[in-house]
Symmetry: C2
DNA sequence: TGACTTTGCTTAATCGTTTAAGTATACTCG
DNA sequence: CGAGTATACTTAAACGATTAAGCAAAGTCA
């Protein structure tokens, strides 16, 4: 029961680099070289030091290290206070993925909420003080911060799915046009000819991209689209329901008087639109199929489960972190657009003969 | 344009405590005493040092400070990986409030995601290494971490709305029974006599608390409740819709064959239940009123806007942070249950004569 | 072989703070 | 008045790492 007492020497404190040095019979400098994989240490000593570190459970004091190296071992994830709640939720998912990826004991990621207001100097201050090693900026940057970054050309990656890429910045984007194209093409491939689109006009860049993708899929298959079936009023779930009612009220293209499938630019909208369609007496998917975009956790669990084009926060996180670390290492980094994922086929979509 | 050149002496680096000392004509120690509001410095010198700091825009190097004081100036917010997505979203909101409250340049808050798996030693490691000054644990702690905390009786506040309070821990709770009581009592006060309840059986503690509150309100007003009108199948929005359909299928208590009002233990459920009721041909709020619990951002924007009992992430965050800082300062702290807020009356509820 | 380079290690200064200990000056009081 | 105590400051040693510079021993080469 008391056999861990040997770890308690030195008053139970964590071992330092000098403790390791003493135990391994070398100098502190040598231990440091081993830790940082520098050359100039013989394999034998290297192994001995490593063994000691493993035995006593050494781990670095990042404050001491950072004091000397002028690093903070912290990266900041900036979210605009003004961002839509739904966006924020998604961003947090991405941050969660980043946090899981960052090996514990090395870098940590701290979320900061910045207002678009010019007077918010949080980020410039962090940079000036050397309190941050890199920045992940969701949905763009406030002008003042952007300027602060440029001046020192500071490692920063902009993650802005659904927003226009920032001209000078390294950004991680999603090709919503392509995603939408795939979603619509998937419906068409199952025999659907009367397809409607429910989008979100309140985010113009996103709206246009998704609409373009949808239109392209229809055009390439020589399928007509009723103007009234391309909707933009989905800004919240009730907006999506309204869009659906408007679609149903507009009448049909080629016969049956209603679309046989609907592509919604967001899962949550699809869920609402589905409800609205049912409220109007249609069966899902027998009368109308629904496909969404995002793959929110709920999509699998609703009845019927919602087919969707998944957007992976994990991939977004990985791409952003890779680029940020490259920049932090002084390497150049380029913007990237995440390729579209495969459709997740679920029961909300059925074949149409 | 170039007049900030005087700030660039010393190679553009941030001024240190010794720079301040030199400029103010005192020793570094004195500056430190001023910064930390220690006594033993004359008012005159104190003022002079402060003036210099303000002039050159001094800010502390927390790594150096922490190295000496053995603090990390970091608090960790722990979220279980296994938590329900809806819970996580709420927790993120609370973390956001905490982040905004923590004055920049002092403590920062970093989210960590821990699995319930015994093998996850992230937190014990952080504590052992002195990499964290305090912990906010959402929805309880994994057993291993709990043990690590107790051993050193480490500053930790458990934020677990909707879950049973941990016995030995300082926790911040929400009195869901009281909230539910208020919601139901509000409906009754407007003349509703036939009221149904939609809850979430999958979270037993939460389910029981909300159900108890609902029942108490009805009992105190001598109103009968149909057994079939107390539902627990709301685990997702579609579950809530099903609950609503079951309620409508069950028939009425006192005449009209359907409830005139429904209390849903979560806004999202209320939104779905509302849709389901409409799908079945009822008007909201004319035929059936709906009230939720939470005040999700969407509640205000849907049509009709959803009445609800708000839960303020801000208050939760403040209470938790207050307690954590008290504990970090060595003071004792006690668990607290946040009092219920007032009903947010919105158009989804109407008076019943 | 002797000069030069390489290898493998140590020494010691440094990063920006805090804080115990020291010192000079002024204040207090029997 | 002199001893003792405050007061206001400074000096210097830490905290735990990194890293330039130094130095011995071994390797290389004409």
């Amino acid at each position: 029961m008391e056999k861990d007492s040997k770890q308690k020497k030195d008053g139970g404190k964590q071992p330092t680099i000098s403790d390791i040095a003493k135990l391994a019979g070398v100098s502190a400098a040598t231990v440091s070289y081993v830790i940082n994989d520098k050359k100039g240490v013989s394999d034998e000593v290297r192994a001995r030091v490593r063994a000691v570190m493993a035995r006593v459970g050494y781990s670095q004091n990042l404050r001491a290290k950072g004091l000397k190296t002028r690093h903070s071992y912290t990266i900041h994830a900036v979210i605009r206070k003004e961002a839509a709640p739904a966006c924020k939720t998604f961003y947090f998912g991405v941050i969660a993925c980043m946090a899981e990826r960052l090996s514990p004991g090395s870098y940590s990621i701290v979320p900061v909420f910045q207002s678009d207001d010019e007077s918010d100097t949080t980020l410039p201050d962090l940079i000036r003080n050397g309190d941050t090693d890199g920045i992940i900026a969701f949905q763009g940057l406030a002008p003042r911060t952007a300027r602060a970054l440029e001046r020192g050309n500071f490692p920063c990656v902009v993650v802005n799915p659904g927003f226009e890429a920032e001209p000078g910045a390294v950004s991680v984007q999603i090709d919503f046009e392509e995603l939408s194209y795939r979603a619509a093409a998937y419906l068409v491939s199952l025999g659907h000819k009367d397809v409607a689109f429910v989008g979100m006009r309140s985010l113009p860049f996103f709206f246009n991209a998704t609409k373009r993708g949808f239109r392209r899929a229809m055009r390439e298959n020589a399928l007509p689209v009723r103007k009234e079936w391309i909707r933009g009023e989905a800004t919240c779930s009730e907006g999506a329901a309204k869009a659906m009612r408007n679609i149903l009220a507009a009448g049909g293209v080629s016969g049956c008087g209603h679309p046989t499938a609907v592509f919604c630019a967001q899962d949550n909208f699809a869920i609402s639109a589905m409800s609205a369609a049912r409220a109007a007496g249609y069966r899902v998917p027998e009368d109308i199929s629904f496909i969404g975009l995002d793959d929110v956790p709920e999509a699998k669990y609703i009845e019927p489960p919602l087919a969707t084009i998944p957007i992976s926060p994990q991939i977004l996180a990985d791409e952003a972190i890779d680029r940020l670390f490259a920049m932090m290492a002084g390497a150049p980094a380029e913007s990237v657009t995440i390729p579209s994922m495969e459709v997740a086929p679920r029961a909300s979509v059925t074949r149409r003969e």
